[in-house]
């Protein structure tokens, strides 16, 4: 393996000193880039793109060609696991992901198996290997998965949902069955993420997109407990370095304190909490990643720079900050505005690392 030329991300995630604050953007390989849209058109559907390792590598690297980002993140989808479990993932225009065979009863939960990363999700492992090779050690590669609760919402609902009627119905009426489902999904995620690490991922992120729709106690029981179990099962070293793990619960700012005890290394923070307050809550237990309101990228580069400055100032001095948006970059953002963000982070952050 090549030596890592820029290891700011890994250092910051482990709360080690860095020269400037590392920066990457959630969904940095995505629709706001014309070159992404071109590759996507070439691939066919979104799912075709995910399942083609060469093209997944191509779009993963695209934002790095444009911006001096400090990390690459695997281009993939969180629903690859339930797809490999046999639920039949497909995408509909305008309505997003759907499953042909949702998990609605005990028999369906019992029937679920744990997919083998190389056999059943070989296209993801292949993409990780190719991306590592093509990166040539420029920056680290982040692997990822959805959280068990988040995957369960899609698996039970059969797709995206606004009300979470079915999945919460099952959680409230059949907590035993929901725990059985989440346990299986957690096992699958551990195997999947360890497969990504074996293939070359140098950091891992778990996206708990829907943990924020739960009450505090339901969050603890049905989301955080399973993420904690996953963290305990992960390969945490590769090529002589620790593989940091980031948890991110969207809408979960209120949960940061307990999330910091999950065994993870870093927490993603959305923009609903100042980083100064988040830092108070987690102390020196974990690093923090975030948390610029992604909508500021609709404003002028001057405003973007001011916004970046406020986030850096809120975190303050010392190690443990990875700059990011508080959520994925929106598809209709001007790429020049993303450039302004990355430039501002590198320009304005050295003063916090002296």
């Amino acid at each position: 393996m090549t030596t890592l030329k820029n290891d700011r991300l890994l250092r910051a995630l482990l709360r080690q000193p860095v020269d400037v604050t590392p920066v990457w953007m959630m969904r940095q390989a995505g629709r706001y880039l014309p070159e992404y849209r071109a590759t996507r058109a070439r691939a066919g559907s979104f799912l075709d793109l995910c399942k083609n390792p060469e093209l997944a590598c191509e779009v993963t690297l695209q934002p790095l060609e444009r911006f001096p980002l400090d990390a690459a993140i695997l281009f993939s989808d969180i629903l690859t696991i339930p797809d490999a479990m046999g639920l039949g993932l497909y995408f509909t225009e305008g309505e997003g992901p759907r499953f042909e065979w949702p998990v609605r009863d005990e028999a369906a939960v019992v029937a679920l198996g744990v997919p083998d990363p190389e056999e059943d999700l070989g296209y993801v492992m292949g993409a990780v290997r190719i991306i590592r090779r093509e990166l040539g050690g420029r920056v680290p590669l982040i692997g990822f998965s959805g959280s068990p609760w988040t995957l369960a919402t899609y698996m039970v609902e059969g797709g995206g949902t606004k009300n979470f009627a079915r999945v919460k119905g099952m959680m409230f009426d059949r907590p035993d069955l929901m725990h059985q489902l989440l346990g299986k999904v957690a096992d699958a995620i551990v195997t999947y993420l360890n497969g990504q690490v074996a293939a070359g991922a140098q950091a891992l992120m778990i996206f708990d997109t829907w943990g924020g729709v739960l009450t505090p106690s339901d969050y603890r029981a049905f989301s955080l407990a399973y993420m904690t179990r996953i963290v305990a099962g992960l390969t945490r070293e590769r090529e002589g370095r620790k593989v940091p793990v980031i948890l991110f619960t969207k809408g979960g700012a209120q949960r940061l304190g307990e999330m910091a005890d999950s065994g993870c290394d870093a927490l993603g923070v959305d923009w609903t909490m100042e980083l100064s307050e988040a830092r108070e809550r987690v102390g020196d237990r974990v690093a923090l990643q975030g948390n610029l309101d992604p909508c500021i990228l609709y404003a002028s580069p001057k405003r973007i720079r001011e916004g970046v400055g406020r986030v850096l100032e809120s975190y303050g001095t010392g190690p443990g900050h990875v700059f990011n948006l508080g959520h994925g970059i929106h598809p209709d953002v001007d790429p020049e505005h993303a450039a302004a963000l990355v430039e501002a982070v590198h320009d304005l952050s050295p003063v916090y690392h002296v």
Copy 2:
């Protein structure tokens, strides 16, 4: 005016002792009731229903015929104000509310006037008067409006939005213009709510549906500041009683502490925070309204009763709790499950008021 036979709601909102915890449900007059769907079909469109005072009264009273609720809430829509400002409200099937003439530039903001409640929104004032007469003092009537920020999101976007691109774009790039817009909308809301009180509303609620999408400092400047200004401008007494004001920011649990200093009497709480914690944050400054996860109504009556019990227990003993869902009741909920909720609140709460 007739004497109020059941004043639990008003007493609880003012933190005065009650015998049982009062309960009502956000969107209690709504699609989950077959009788609502029948009236709506008779009215024509949703907007036709809102603009017909007799039918608006009919649907307002429907849930009270079914359940021993402790309050009625005016059936209306938060977008009546921008409609009366000339934006041309209409509803599209599946896509929700739209405006023909969104507010996108300085000229559009300057052109906005403050509607006169009786002249421009007479159908709302008429509905309030008829509902008061038909209620005959059974329970108090709650009037309401959207918050300035929430109305501004629809006015600038031209309808509902997921990303808040335009409205946040304006907020970041032209904060001066956004403040001008919010100031005008706040003036309109004060006039509108005072009109409702003059017509008979006995409590008021401000729905800040989209305040939760803002950073802490943007929330303070662009949402809370204007709600505070509104509260200061409201008629606070009617028929020799105080007219309590409730603020509710969806996704705003983290803001409860500062919201409690707005001059309002009570705060709505969504289900992302335990009421015990919310109560610690606000102390004796305000009452709290909430906060059952509305999805528990998809579960069995037994689970609903357990859920109600946990919310009551979390608030604990003493005055100042109005039971409610943490968000509007979902349209596909079984009315029998709503009945189970109301019954459980009245059954289980006396022990907290001894």
